[in-house]
Symmetry: C2
């Protein structure tokens, strides 16, 4: 049985604290760096990755799609045909209109009705975040996000030396919309609020229609853009009707960001964003400055794959297999975890979120787990927008990257480690 | 005969002028954008591109490699093998160490001796510029570049709302190093100086060893990083010994930036930078925030092509054919241009730079050329770091994107247009 989880005990939002002026960092030879580089390079997640790079580790840590499910033959065939038909497909050209049209068709599955011209193609969802941040965020500006959040949005924001306003999130129900409202009522005016509607990273949670409606209502009321990260939006495992994305509820104030990294393959580096139309031309200029706004071979590969008509069946395969792996993880947790450990039951995405008894530190536990049982996860403290103490006793498990058998073995080992550290109490 | 070109008549550097505080731009619905978005979106080059997009135009404008020379079959085969052998090549993984090793070998051709670990892989040279700018440039900081320059570096810089310090450049001898020294002596401390050593875009010029040595001497003396854009460094047409890149002369203060977009194919989006070692880890963090620091299918394709051993021969093919096209352009200019029009004779790269009589405006000429003769080029005013008046009577011609016959026809048409507008004088 899944125990009801207590709400995270996160301090109520407090007024912004001005950050003191910083010295520009200087390297030993006298090379001056930009001020924003000061905080960069310190990432809890990157520190953890070093531990995970050890050979022989059974990793439930990194959020990887299953490489054995990549449609690699169809992708190779698609690229082969595309290049044989016309070498100009390797040239600088305009972004692929036909790929935009295919994506616009897919967006119906997320409740969105849009024209191909509204789709802006990016190098993965990460680049969409980066471009939107450049579009909206001033140096030292405000941004709002959940206190446990995808590390990539934090890294995007950090380059602007921002004031990060955090809101709590519950692993069963997701973002605390009251806390968002409270910040706004008290005068906060963030450049954007970042939200993952489905299969949250790292919390696994998908939010209710009621929360979605309240979020877009707040966005409209306070003229606050929402960056909606829908990386996992096509990966729901329990059937039933899909809830509309935030963008479907308000296309004017919600910038949608999607990706094929989890549904086709990461190395194709193909994502997209749907933004209010006045932003599209600026996105193109920004992308041009970032890496040239022209199609990559990855965009061609995705287009060829979508054109082949195999995508709906492929998505069905992923949903079935990932759903099976999620169930395997939940069953193993049920079997191997001692009392006092809690976890949620995600309906989509890649992750289960787990809460240990309050006195345990998941980062310490990771070191023990890697040393004694060669099993790994990501401690909650490495997935925080600011600081990390609120999620110190939490951890994230990925259920997509290993087979059901490996997941079962990994959870068994993790159970032994946790029982080991709980025993002395 | 190529006439000796007079030095551009560019005003001497003047002291920095503080920029007034700006209102944040706001869209009609009340959406606030970042302040730096104010100037963005206005690009002389992008305006010109609309003219060029008309069907049936014979374009000597855009700097495109010849798509008929792309090794498209070998690329498709390489990708096919790579994906058949291991679907994990489509996964998130670490940047390709073997590709770095191949690039380190190639760098010997540019006088650089480096280890694979020093190569940092990017999404084209454009991303290298973008990452270095984030690394080095503070909002409203100073940057230095030539007054006629590649539009991409200007777009990179604009997002930082910078003070752009310009130095003149001569189409026969390149960057005015005295002007660089003069800015520095008078207290300028730019975050970086951007330099194209070989086959300058748009001027076509390559600079002398003496100028190279003085530039790195200034960089060391004033602790000023140089971003060396060597996009065209492998494309020299006259044989003879290659001059060392700036990075070869000073690896500590020069960040080298290279690309396969012009030597293999643009859509593979593969470039690299060699930076002082303390910067490498930060580059990785910055790239992660931009688009995830993992290999793309394009990186795999380039690696497979380099491994196949075909690159040296392919490069020789490009040098021979592009050299032939350059010669065709120079011969056609000799034949079809009226007295009073001058141009240079590039030893590398993609471009010839042309100077019309002072009373002519190349942007006006472009409109006439497109209307009456369906031939296009880029006016010099669209390729300026700041303003555009100094190069108003100049234009850029690309000699790589069309066959020799088409180039000849294009120059013949352009000659008629210029004679037509010069006649009334």
């Amino acid at each position: 049985m899944i125990e009801a989880m207590t709400k995270f005990n996160i301090p109520a939002p407090s007024p912004p604290v001005p950050t003191p002026a910083k010295e520009a960092p200087t390297l030993s030879n006298g090379l001056r760096l930009a001020h924003a580089m000061e905080g960069l390079g310190r990432s809890g997640l990157r520190d953890v990755m070093e531990l995970l790079a050890r050979p022989g580790i059974l990793s439930l840590a990194v959020g990887l799609p299953a490489s054995e499910l990549f449609p690699h033959e169809l992708i190779a065939q698609g690229i082969g045909r595309r290049l044989a038909n016309d070498p100009k497909n390797l040239q600088y050209t305009l972004p692929l209109r036909d790929l935009k049209a295919r994506i616009a068709e897919l967006m119906v599955l997320r409740g969105v009705s849009c024209r191909p011209e509204q789709i802006f193609l990016t190098s993965g969802c990460q680049q969409a975040m980066d471009l939107h941040a450049h579009l909206l965020l001033d140096p030292k500006g405000q941004v709002m996000m959940e206190s446990s959040i995808y590390d990539g949005i934090r890294m995007v924001a950090l380059r602007f030396d921002p004031q990060i306003l955090t809101v709590p999130s519950d692993p069963e129900t997701g973002i605390d919309v009251d806390a968002v409202a409270s910040w706004l009522e008290r005068g906060a005016r963030p450049a954007f609020l970042y939200v993952i509607t489905e299969g949250h990273n790292p919390l696994g949670v998908s939010i209710s229609l009621e929360k979605r409606l309240r979020l877009v209502e707040l966005a409209r009321q306070y003229r606050m853009p929402i960056l909606e990260d829908d990386t996992y939006g096509f990966l729901r495992y329990d059937g039933g009707p899909s809830l509309p994305s935030l963008h479907a509820l308000d296309p004017e104030w919600v910038c949608y960001m999607g990706s094929f990294s989890k549904t086709i393959a990461p190395a194709l580096r193909t994502g997209w964003t749907i933004a209010p139309e006045p932003l599209l031309q600026r996105l193109s200029v920004l992308k041009h400055a970032s890496d040239i706004d022209a199609p990559s071979i990855g965009h061609h590969a995705v287009h060829a794959f979508l054109e082949s008509g195999h995508f709906p069946r492929h998505l069905e395969t992923l949903r079935t297999e990932y759903g099976r792996r999620r169930d395997a993880m939940l069953a193993a947790l049920e079997q191997h975890m001692p009392a006092g450990v809690r976890w949620n039951r995600p309906t989509g995405g890649f992750f289960v979120w787990m809460e240990l008894p309050r006195h345990l530190d998941a980062a310490d536990l990771l070191r023990v787990a890697v040393e004694t049982e060669q099993v790994a996860f990501v401690p909650g403290s490495a997935l925080c927008a600011v600081g990390g103490s609120h999620a110190r006793n939490c951890l994230r498990l990925c259920f997509t990257s290993c087979s059901a058998e490996t997941i079962e073995e990994g959870v068994r080992r993790l159970g032994r480690v946790i029982k080991g550290v709980m025993a002395p109490i």
